[in-house]
Amino acid sequence: MSAKAKRAAWEEKPTVAGQTAKGASIVVIALLILFPLYTIALTSLSSAETVQRVGGLVVWPGDGITFEAYEQMFRNPVVLRSLVVSLAVTAVGTVVSVLVSILGAYSLSKPGSFGHKTVLFSVLMMFVVFPGLIPVYLWVSALGLRDNYLAMILPMAVSAFNVVVLRAFFMSLPQELFDSARIDGAGEFRVLWQIVAPLSKAVIAVVTLFYAVAYWNSWFNAFLYLDDTSKWPLALVLRTYVVESAPLPQASGLSSAPPTLAVKMAIVMVAIVPALVIYPFVQKHFKKGVIIGAVKG
């Protein structure tokens, strides 16, 4: 990837007005996205006095940087526990979802096999027929999953979109590959783990990111099924403290009042950071992964 301009010989020379307009739009777009993140990050790194004096978000650096808010946040048992819950749910959920989806998608990539049509139909129909909020709520409650961490994982464990993306990729692998593995005597599981999976790293990375982000961001299932607020994930604490600016309902004796602005912004930062960290590693695969799913879905 070179940064060198490669304007074709037949193209007009760019006009000054055009280049200016283009440059201005790029700057504006970038600022609209980055500036809020910048002030939030800066506020989370500012001392309580600075925030008090400014009377809100801190825009100008120069008052020094302190990790005070983060220390306070990590001393807050409510936030700390919700962070652990979120990390655990995201880790367990993502592993389960990715494994189940790879296995299922591989099975779906073999047309003509026994039961193939039934399985494919069960998955594809998920794009057009939805169970609806209330039947799922009644069913998950009836299964006894109230106040169970599994209620945050199982209802969203299989995404039809992700399965279809994986399946499309598996089906695009050359058939000879499977034939030769067959001749060498490899069973389906061996073919999947030793041949297909290593070749599909890019698409598996994208699907893993999608699942991980979905689990990390999810809060509504927790809100519906977890009456015990000590089991709440970070996103739900974020909603209560930052969006609603309310104390946690029925918190177990611990101080649950919403924290100061700097600490709130520190919570926002912690909620953002995983996306920021994983994202660059996976971003380059988006176009490939997403488009294959979109075109061949």
Binding site: I33, V54, V128, P135, P155, M171, A271, I291
Partner: protein, 327 residues
């Protein structure tokens, strides 16, 4: 054989040769041959049936006088379409319907073109580095949850947010965009653009990349300027994708999202922010009228299904590839 020949299966994805049809053997033979595949599909099928299709059957409560504690689904009395009749005479339901359709219509005009414009801008950038930097920035908010997006908007545009803070600092009145029902439709559309327009541009970028560059050169040689090339080559080149996504969006007209509205309902009030999905939650779960809420949900599901199938049909009629998946 060596694995080097298949380094880039993605490149071949578009034109992979059709798989040779497997001869239909006796089902018992196929079962004996394919049991590992069935075993692989089993966990997925368990989850899909256990948390999607079995609950779908639970929609029967929409036709029941559902008693959660004494009757349950099996022991409650059937009441036919009573709940649906009530629904259509419920002003709150009508309001949710009107709000949902207004938001869809508004966003078709003000949201839908943004990813296209963004894709055109990014595609026109000659510098590879600048382009990928801009892509990284605009895709990013797609991975933020609605909770985060709304928290961020609150900090910027809310009553105690940065905009008000700055205005007050300059001696003006503060403004609070987050609680104003009159401008709510603008607010949710800006939030949708901020969060999703960048990622939505990916599919148009791919369509733009698929246009044959020779067309541009030939047109330029024939004297077409950059605007005529945009009008006569670029836009026709991505038209199929535009039409397809437009049709899909129409088929999805009753879906404007749930979280975004649920999260802001208490701040803005239900008058402006009640949409289909929040109506189902508040009329069903909040009040415990599960049967009534399920009826609203089922109505939405059935109308949505009809719309999607009709949209797909329309796509076929217009000569586009029909898809049953959102992309």
């Amino acid at each position: 054989m060596s694995t080097t020949t298949i380094e880039s299966p993605a490149a071949a994805a578009g034109d992979a040769p059709p798989r040779a049809p497997q001869p239909k053997a006796h089902w018992l033979t196929r079962l004996r041959r394919d049991w590992p595949l069935l075993l692989m599909a089993a966990p997925m099928m368990l989850l899909v049936w256990g948390f999607w299709w079995i609950p779908t059957l639970g929609n029967v409560v929409a036709f029941q006088d559902y008693k959660p504690y004494t009757g349950g689904i099996l022991g409650s009395r059937l009441v036919g379409f009573t709940h649906f009749q009530l629904l259509f005479s419920d002003p709150e339901f009508t309001r949710a319907l009107v709000n949902t359709l207004s938001i869809t219509a508004f966003q078709l005009v003000f949201y839908f073109p943004v990813p296209i414009a963004l894709a055109l801008l990014m595609h026109s950038l000659v510098s590879e580095r600048l382009r990928s930097m801009l892509q990284s920035i605009v895709y990013l908010p797609y991975f933020f949850s609605w909770v985060l997006v709304i928290a961020i908007f609150q900090q910027m545009l809310g009553g105690a947010g940065l905009l008000s803070q700055t205005l007050r600092g300059a001696g003006f009145e503060g403004v609070d965009w987050m609680t104003n029902p009159d401008t709510f439709i603008l607010l949710v559309t800006s939030q949708a653009i901020w969060k999703e327009a960048g990622f939505g541009a990916i599919i148009f970028l791919a369509a733009l990349a698929a246009i044959d560059p020779n067309l541009y050169e030939a047109a330029a040689v024939d004297g077409a300027g950059r605007w005529r090339r945009l009008w006569h080559i670029t836009l026709p080149g991505i038209r199929p994708v535009i039409v397809l996504l437009l049709i899909l969006r129409l088929g999805d007209a009753l879906n404007v999202g749930f979280e975004q509205f649920f999260l802001q309902r208490s701040a803005v009030g239900s008058q402006a922010s009640e949409v289909f999905d929040t109506f189902v939650y508040y009329s069903g779960i909040r009040t415990g009228d599960f049967d009534y809420g399920a009826a609203a949900g089922l109505f939405k599901g059935v109308v949505g299904l009809v719309l999607i199938l009709a949209a797909n049909k329309a796509a076929h009629l217009l000569g586009e590839r029909g898809v049953y998946s959102k992309s």
